[in-house]
Symmetry: C2
Subunit: 151 residues, 2 copies
């Protein structure tokens, strides 16, 4: 009998989605992230660009800073980032410097995402996409519909 | 008789170079930045990636955060960034989000700079390069020679 693996990508992406929901409740574009090492979460963050008045306060940037702080070193070579939206150029560039082992993202961002813009990731970084994509996209759509109706 | 303009690009780049020298003295890769509005400096920063154990602590990132904090808004549409080294993908991406008016950099960075890596800046952002390039490059070279000799 095969054991069920409790800590799969969907498990951690759900945690990132919970962060995105917190951002939603704050009126922030709902993007959330967690960073893990050996199936343990060492950083959680959500987008705070409005609250902090700071374009650099994306979920990924805060998670990178928090994870490095936890580890006591700036390189995240054994870490996996789970994020509900494809990272942008800025976050892709930060992930390059961090030498992160793996990126898992939910929804794609064809216009602002690192992929179509050709941002260079670290050669050691592996990428998985589409995990809980439907849930992450639905939350983003709900946010933008609500914001349109408020304006 | 023409008046001499005291606040030209070289004037502010010298201030950015002073920041880079502070980084040098701390054992940080010597890159410095200032952000101005109407010829007034509203943010100064230097690279602190080692001190803060944080790959996101580039001079530009800190300057963007500080300038937005000073202005009380996250967009830097009327601001000029002076930085001693060509911004990387991460910083280029952050500058994109900030909608900065103008970037002035000293030394080019053909391998890690935003230009050769094709990072997209905001369409409204103008770029000037090569201001005090010799001084900025000399400081960087001095740093790397010193570091090589210490190891």
């Amino acid at each position: 009998m095969a054991l069920i693996e409790p800590f799969d990508d969907a498990y951690f992406m759900k945690k990132a989605l919970m962060e995105a929901e917190t951002a939603f409740d704050l009126g922030e574009i709902p993007v959330g992230a967690v960073i893990t090492v050996n199936n343990t979460i060492i950083a959680r963050a959500h987008n705070l660009t409005e609250r902090l008045n700071d374009v650099t306060a994306h979920a990924e940037m805060q998670a990178i800073t928090a994870a490095a702080n936890y580890l006591g070193g700036k390189y995240l070579t054994d870490c996996t980032l789970y994020v509900t939206l494809e990272p942008c150029q800025m976050c892709g560039g930060a992930l390059y410097w961090s030498q992160l082992s793996r990126i898992v993202y939910a929804a794609a961002d064809p216009n602002r995402g690192y992929k179509n813009l050709g941002t260079q990731l670290h050669p050691k970084t592996q990428v998985t996409s589409g995990i809980l994509e439907t849930e992450a996209s639905a939350l983003l759509k709900r946010f933008f519909i609500q914001r349109r109706n408020l304006n």
